[in-house]
Amino acid sequence: MLLIYCPYCQVERAETEFHCGGEAHIARPADPSKASDEEWVEFLYMRNNPKGLAAERWRHNNGCGRFFNAVRDTVSDKFLKFYKAGEPMPDLEAIAKEAGK
């Protein structure tokens, strides 16, 4: 069971308080009617699914209810960064370097 830091509540809590919302920073096309089939399938279904650092969404379901983002290493399951929704995607390579990977 992971230990997750909610950047809104500013506390660490057990994973069972949270719901994982999958890959982060996938924007829904602003005008879906103008999106091509390829763009729409990219938004709906295509995922990086990286082995290594991943930016992903979490929601503090049984807490503040807010969505936030996290960078996690999908091999070790270690979290390297938590940040609020709306903040830009961090530089994963820089984070990896800092973590000494």
Binding site: L3, R59, G65, D77
Partner: protein
């Protein structure tokens, strides 16, 4: 004589407390403090079990949780537990134990014929045969194999015991209470850090409890351990957990411990759980799990009476039991010598120490000589004699050529062996650390830490009492420092004696016997021999994982704790590759087998999953209503009266609703309050329908899609004010609709000024439906004009019900005049009982979900999840009317434009009438154009709902049928096992097609 192998004095057993127990029905005596194993040995019993495959007689090999052979069944109060290790079962008065995997008895086991046939049963033999004739596998071979396999008998009755669960946080968790664990716990605790110390054994102290020749601070090591424990026990910041195994190390320093609470007690307090699961989040972990001695892989090394040297020493020093009268010690390392010395000091005849090393330490030899023990160096055991108990050993001399020369036979009734030590790296490995090969120690030891843990003492291959203590203190200090940033001054205790020994061997022991004939066991329980490992390699198995799976070595209930390193060395030799290149199998949790009940905890019966009840629940129970499970909810299914079956009750309920009035508990429907200046805009984007022009006080049916374009939910949404909507969802869909809304709101449209709140639990909802609905509710409603003009169909207003605030909806899921009254949940019972009484005056009825389904089906209303299944679009469902044509966007709009969703030939929602009005279709039945379709004919669709309609006095059905809307009036077929049922495709509204009844 009772307990003939009990020493005259010594040991940590309570000689004043005699306990009786039975083994295979035979009554024996032991003492408090004994394990079943030590008590059996005290009675001279070595033969305690039969091996898995060859049914070889087997004895006790170890004194710990790694025991592969001495597995027993324990019976107690009608409960039976198989496969418990006798070495871990604490003796209590009246304990009943039985041996396993033998028939008819332990002494005479017909399964032992397998041993004679063993030449035909090498590793993996079953992959090569039992294939002919084909049908024999399931019918003949497999049942025979299955009956022969398995160890103990499975429990026959539901478990009477209960289990507990505790979540805990701590600064430092110490697993293991040997010298390094105790030192670590003390050092950490002195800083004030919150410490949990656990040990799998009944008594804290680990190896200190059987160490007779050393001292710590001038004290007996066991006394020092007891004093240290007392010191820890007195500290508020320390939790001591004995009989507690740290069995799992999960991500983010989450450790699972299994505490055995009552298993050792003769008459357990029924209030106490049998076991308790501790789920601990530790800031730092100290792994002090020690090391395990390795067996020596010599021919016939599996006879009862052959055990590990340290186990022999433990039985002697800790339990006061002599493992035999004439003991041979075979070793490759120093530590086993001490076992020989201790035995000799207790008057046991040690017939010889056979050390395979050419030059064992002179110091040891001189001690042996002083005790008159014969010492043979460069000497190995090459075989043993005796069937149910070892009676002699063959010795061999290791020649410089590498050959072995026979060195005669020596009589013995016990043989203690030591191939050296293997650090217990399981927890470290579970923490996802990678072990590294230490060639000098001949062992895998912990490498870099990947979580906040450190291994200490023997668990990392560091031996010797003084070194272990020092390492433990230092690790405890470091751990506390890392966890809470504090240090404390701890005086390190000083040990004398208990020096680290040298030596050790891995793999098969050389011998002078016929290598193709003799067997030397690597994995005792699973009957894997050195030859099997070599065979696997010969057959091309190169990875240790393949060798393990092919031979099953290391897959027994000891999970290879005794066998892995020997198997690895043998494989390495056969592959002619260094050990480190052969790989190491992964250490899996749990560290030792862990009771299912422990994981399940209190999750049983109603605690298995929360039960959600509506306000009418108790009333319904009193009335004898029948419930159905819908998600976690209990919903009333129907209300049988006077012995009615479901069919009769539903027919009556439906009829009464259409004729007068019915009362239905709709509290389970999901409810979401959507509030804010952009509330209408938000709903506009979420739902297919338009919302901006909906006037306050009015309702609209809302249809929700996912962005793929498929229907996921529906419900009526009422606008209470410009900026406030009351959204309802399906019962099952409530949580997912709410979280989907939160998702879009927070992450796609954070610009919208809207708040959404789940209010499902805030309101109790009663639906009153039927021509007399208005009359029923009128006496209780205030501040709302209920007249048809003032409060038409699809209206919502706030008022009071019996003086409590309510939200009143005029909506209908039956096609009749209908109201849904929402009151604060705490008034739900009052509302229900008030209305239930009131409807009686109008000859009304309460009705359940089944009648609700029938009534809505008569009107062709869909049930999302039944008529739709996640692959249905609004067009398919005949609900294009629900799509706001001019909307810029809504969830699912773009998805709906994809080619397959606009394709011809999609299933569409239709009605079906069987040609014979009495025939009711089965829900889920398939629909074809051909009357007698051949197997493999693609279906045209399927029946989604099917009922007897009391209003029509015939059956009706709803279905999804390809191009169904164009097929109205056509005949299709529903093929059933006993013939095809012809049906006519119709519209979906069967009753009151013009909808007159709803607008009254």
């Amino acid at each position: 004589m009772s307990q003939p192998f009990r020493t005259e004095k010594g040991g940590r057993i309570d000689r004043g407390q005699q306990l009786s127990f039975t083994f295979d029905g035979e009554q024996m005596q032991g003492h408090k403090g004994d394990t079943l194993a030590s008590a059996l040995l005290a009675n001279g019993v070595h033969l305690v079990g039969r091996s898995f495959k060859y049914h070889r007689p087997r004895g006790i090999v170890t004194a710990g949780s790694e025991e592969p052979n001495a597995l027993v069944g324990i019976y107690r109060n009608g409960d039976q537990t198989p496969n418990l290790r006798a070495t871990q079962v604490e003796l209590y008065q009246g304990l009943q134990s039985i041996s396993q995997n033998r028939f008819p008895s332990l002494g005479f086991d017909v399964g032992a014929v397998n041993d004679w046939l063993s030449p035909f049963f090498p590793a993996g033999f079953y992959y090569k045969t039992f294939m002919w004739p084909k049908s024999f596998w399931d019918k003949v071979y497999e049942p025979v194999i299955r009956a022969a396999a398995g160890l103990g008998k499975p429990p026959k009755n539901p478990d009477h015991d209960h289990y507990g669960n505790i979540y805990a946080l701590c600064d430092v968790l110490v697993a293991g209470s040997g010298p390094s664990g105790l030192a670590a716990a003390l050092a950490a605790a002195e800083t004030g850090a919150k410490v949990i110390l656990c040990d799998e054994q009944a008594e804290f102290g680990g190896s200190l409890l059987s160490e007779a020749s050393a001292s710590i601070d001038g004290k007996d090591p066991a006394d020092w351990a007891a004093e240290t424990i007392a010191k820890l026990r007195a500290m508020d910041n320390v939790t001591l957990l004995n009989r507690t195994t740290a069995f799992g190390y999960f991500a983010h320093n989450f450790i699972a411990l299994a505490e055995r609470v009552t298993e050792h007690v003769s008459n357990p307090d029924p209030k106490l759980p049998r076991e308790r699961l501790w789920q601990v989040r530790a800031k730092e972990v100290v792994i002090a799990t020690g090391a395990i001695e390795r067996p020596m892989v010599f021919p016939e090394n599996d006879r009862p009476g052959i055990m590990l040297a340290d186990a022999g020493r433990t039985y002697l020093n800790r339990y006061g039991v002599k493992v035999g009268n004439k003991v041979l010690v075979a070793t490759a390392c120093d530590t086993a010598w001490q076992a020989a010395f201790d035995l000799a000091d207790h008057g046991v005849e040690v017939v010889a120490i056979a050390d395979m090393r050419e030059n064992p330490p002179e110091s040891l030899i001189s001690i042996a000589k002083a005790r008159g023990i014969r010492v043979e160096s460069g000497c190995v055991v090459t075989g043993t004699l005796g069937r149910k108990r070892v009676k002699a050993a063959l010795l061999g001399r290791l020649m410089t050529s590498g050959q072995v020369a026979s060195a005669g036979q020596i009589a013995c009734d016990a043989l203690l062996m030591s191939g050296g030590w293997t650090p217990t790296v399981s927890l470290y490995s579970q923490s996802r650390g990678k072990v590294v090969w230490d060639a000098e120690k001949g062992a895998y030891v912990p490498g870099k830490s990947v979580q906040n843990e450190r291994s200490v003492g023997a668990a990392k291959g560091l031996y010797g009492l003084q070194a272990s203590l020092e390492n433990g203190y230092a690790a405890g200090e470091e751990a506390a420092k890392a966890a809470i940033g504090k240090s404390a001054k701890v005086t390190y205790a000083q040990a004398t004696g208990g020096e680290a020994g040298n030596g050790g061997t891995l793999g098969a022991i050389p011998h002078d016997r016929n290598a193709t004939k003799v067997r030397a066991w690597v994995d005792y329980q699973n009957d894997v021999t050195a030859k099997d490992v070599k065979l696997a390699v010969r057959e091309g198995m190169q990875s240790i994982e393949h060798i393990k799976r092919y031979t099953t070595t290391g897959m027994a209930t000891d999970q290879g704790r005794l066998s892995n390193m020997n198997a690895l060395q043998i494989a390495s030799g056969a592959l002619e590759r260094p050990v480190v290149d052969v790989g190491l199998t992964t250490f899996r949790l749990p560290y030792t087998p862990t009771t299912f009940g422990l994981f399940a905890g209190i999750s049983r019966g109603d605690f298995f999953d929360p039960v959600r009840k509506t306000p009418s629940h108790d009333w319904v129970v009193e009335q004898g209503g029948v419930f159905e499970d819908v998600g976690q909810w209990k919903r009333t299914w129907y209300f049988p009266k006077g012995g009615e079956d479901m069919h009769a009750a539903v027919a009556r309920e439906c009829k009464v609703v259409r004729e007068s009035v019915g009362l239905f508990d709709a509290s389970t429907l999901g409810k979401i309050e959507v509030v804010g200046p952009d509330a209408a805009e938000f709903l506009e984007r979420m739902y297919t329908n338009p919302w901006k022009k909906l006037a306050p006080g009015r309702c609209r049916y809302g249809l929700l899609l996912n962005d793929a374009g498929f229907i996921t939910d529906d419900g009526v949404i009422g606008r209470l004010a410009e900026d406030r909507f009351h959204v309802t969802t399906t019962t099952g869909g409530a949580p997912s609709v709410f979280s989907t809304m939160e998702d879009y709101l927070q992450t796609e449209w954070p610009d919208l000024d809207v708040w959404i709140t789940s209010t499902t639990e805030q309101y109790a909802v009663a639906a009153v439906q039927g021509p007399k609905a208005r009359e029923v509710i009128a006496p209780f409603i205030e501040r709302i004009d209920l007249s048809a003009d003032a409060f038409p169909h699809m209206s919502v207003k706030e008022g009071t019900f019996c003086g409590v605030p309510c939200r009143l909806f005029r909506i209908s899921f039956t096609g009749e005049l209908g109201f849904e009254i929402n009151v604060p949940r705490r008034h739900g019972k009052m509302m229900w009982e008030t209305l239930a009484k009131e409807i009686e005056k109008h000859n009304g009825t309460t009705y359940g979900t089944e009648s609700m389904h029938v009534l809505r089906a008569e009107k062709g209303y869909i049930i999302v999840g039944q008529d739709t299944d996640g692959t249905v679009t609004p067009q398919d469902a005949g609900m294009t009317w629900a799509i706001g044509k001019k909307k810029f966007d809504f969830v699912g709009k773009r998805g709906l434009e994809r080619s397959d969703l606009t394709a011809d030939n999609r299933p569409q929602f239709v009605g079906l009438l069987t040609k014979d009005p009495k025939v009711k279709l089965e829900e889920g039945a398939q629909i074809t154009t051909a009357q007698n379709p051949a197997i493999g004919t693609p279906a045209e669709g399927h029946v989604t709902s099917s009922y007897y309609s009391p209003a029509l006095d015939r059956t009706i059905a709803l279905a999804m049928v390809k191009n169904g809307h164009a097929l109205e009036g056509k005949t299709l077929y529903v093929p059933m096992p006993d013939g095809s049922i012809p049906v006519e495709v119709t519209g979906t509204v069967f009753y009151d097609k013009e909808g007159a009844r709803i607008n009254v």
